[in-house]
């Protein structure tokens, strides 16, 4: 593989928002490394992303592993020579509240959302700083503001993990300034594989009642905001938190 012009790494890229984001970045000309644990879906998505842009690389990995992130980031740098954009999107649902959740489930939730983002920031930030350019986008959630919402995927452990991402975003925005920007997106209720069960259970009509725009969000709605943050040049946004929720939270 030869050096690429622009390189993005997207975690949790096999499905949902990650998949749409990887495809949208590919369409903008990025070579995209896709990280996920879901191997069959990752391969399928990587083929799709390959067809949409210059190059795609499937990295079969669990973001909770620090060592794996270090090793795979080094592989990406060896293959393509740079990393311009990191999208920390990997996440799991956690429908259990405090009284039901086990210690292991709590750890797994925090590790996937928050430590996973730390692992990948730690793995690619040195390259971004050396390039004197880089964009990091962390996928938080409006449930970081609201606490457990109506979405059953977002009980307290999930909310805590997503709120942790906002602190990481703000802290890193300062640490990595001025050449690397770090921002977060807080999606509202997005129709993805993660939320499909809950949407089927609750019914779309009931769920959209509290959303002023009267529809669920799509992965593409969020991907477009990621692409904006990843590509707008020059960029004076860092440490910012963008709510993309159809007006649900302010309602």
């Amino acid at each position: 593989m030869s050096a690429a012009a622009r390189v993005a790494v997207v975690t949790g890229a096999a499905r949902g928002i990650g998949r749409a984001t990887a495809a949208a970045l590919a369409r903008k000309g990025f070579s995209v490394a896709l990280v996920d644990v879901r191997v069959p879906e990752l391969r399928e998505t990587t083929a799709l992303v390959q067809g949409a842009g210059p190059a795609a690389l499937a990295l079969e990995a669990d973001v909770t592993s620090f060592g794996t992130a270090q090793r795979l980031a080094a592989d990406v740098l060896t293959a393509w020579g740079r990393v311009d954009v990191l999208v920390n999107n990997a996440g799991i649902s956690q429908p259990k509240g405090l009284l039901e959740i086990t210690e292991e489930e709590w750890d797994r939730t925090i590790d996937t959302h928050l430590k996973g983002a730390f692992n990948w920031c730690k793995a690619v930030a040195p390259a971004m700083l050396a390039q004197r350019a880089g964009r990091i986008v962390n996928m938080s959630s409006v449930s970081a503001h609201t606490g457990a919402g109506m979405a059953a995927v977002s009980k307290s452990a999930y909310c805590a993990a997503k709120a942790g991402l906002l602190g990481l975003t703000r802290g890193l925005a300062k640490e990595l300034a001025p050449h690397v920007t770090v921002n977060a997106i807080c999606p509202g209720l997005i129709a993805t594989d993660l939320t499909a069960g809950m949407i089927a259970r609750e019914g779309t009509d009931a769920l959209t009642r509290s959303i002023p725009l009267a529809r669920l969000g799509t992965p593409e709605d969020i991907a477009q905001v990621v692409v904006f943050l990843a590509t707008v040049t020059p960029c004076f946004m860092t440490g910012e938190v963008l709510d993309v929720d159809g007006g649900q939270w302010v309602n």
């Binding site: 300062k174 001025p178 002023p212 707008v232 860092t238 709510d243 007006g247 309602n251």
Partner: protein, 259 residues
């Protein structure tokens, strides 16, 4: 960024600063744009100097704090440019007066231009967007001063905080009509006036103190605020409404950077 709506965008405060830079960017994208400003000569001049190749441009002088003037201005914009797909409430004033010295006249003027005017213009434009049936996107230019306290801007900060909440409530009320409403919150923008002040001996210290608080270690270029407004006007922001997009280089994070 993708294509904006083929319908016209109305920009208030378009004779100078961000409003003028936005009008230029819209004209360059071949979007029909109506420039509005209280400065009649200034807005005509700004419109004349736009790169109008393929774009349609018109200018209307109006005092946006006055309901009759707003009604006349919006009616004329609708007639000149066709159905409006976008509105950017950019007109604003920024006096700096210690709170204890602020007169009631100055308070009223700041609230009138920065808050009453967006109310009037949004209402007049939204009514026509609803009649025209095509939805729309409205962007209010707020400020980080709506969230941070700095001496001398009690009236300005209050007006912009009010504008944030006007944004949120109109987002909710206008959503059923397909109208999105969002705000951008610029930090300190490097306009000509700001750069001139920074070049003076007195202004230099203040300028450097300010920069030390901004993680990106510089001021915003007007184009950087314009780009965010263009994004919010575009269909790519289809699921954004009631949101506040801060464009401040990390300034709002507050504590001085320790780089």
């Amino acid at each position: 960024m993708g294509e904006l709506s083929d319908r016209a965008v109305l920009v208030t405060g378009a004779a100078s600063g961000i409003g003028r830079a936005l009008a230029e960017a819209l004209a360059r994208r071949r979007t029909a744009v109506v420039l509005c400003d209280v400065d009649a000569a200034g807005v005509q001049d700004a419109a004349r100097k736009l790169p109008v190749e393929g774009g349609r441009v018109s200018a209307v002088a109006a005092d946006v704090t006055q309901p009759a003037d707003v009604e006349r201005m919006v009616e004329r914009a609708r007639r000149d440019a066709g159905p409006l797909g976008g509105l950017v409430n950019c007109a604003g004033i920024y006096p700096n007066t210690p709170f204890l010295d602020t007169s009631v006249e100055e308070w009223d003027e700041v609230l009138a231009v920065n808050l009453r005017a967006p109310f009037l213009v949004t209402q007049a434009v939204a009514r026509r967007m609803i009649t025209d049936g095509g939805g729309g996107s409205i962007v209010n230019v707020s400020s980080t001063a709506s969230r941070l306290a700095r001496p001398g801007i009690a009236h300005y900060g209050a007006s912009k905080a009010g504008l944030n909440q006007l944004t949120a409530v109109t987002a909710v009320e206008l959503a059923p009509h397909g109208i999105r409403v969002n705000a951008v919150l610029p930090g300190v923008v490097g306009t000509e006036r700001v750069h001139a002040n920074a070049a003076s001996a007195a202004g230099r210290v203040e300028h450097e103190t300010k920069l030390a608080r901004i993680p990106l270690a510089r001021l915003a270029e007007p184009a950087e605020v314009v780009n965010v407004i263009l994004f919010l006007l575009s269909p790519e922001a289809a699921y954004c409404t009631g949101a506040l997009f801060t464009v401040d280089g990390g300034f709002t994070l507050g504590i001085p950077s320790t780089r």
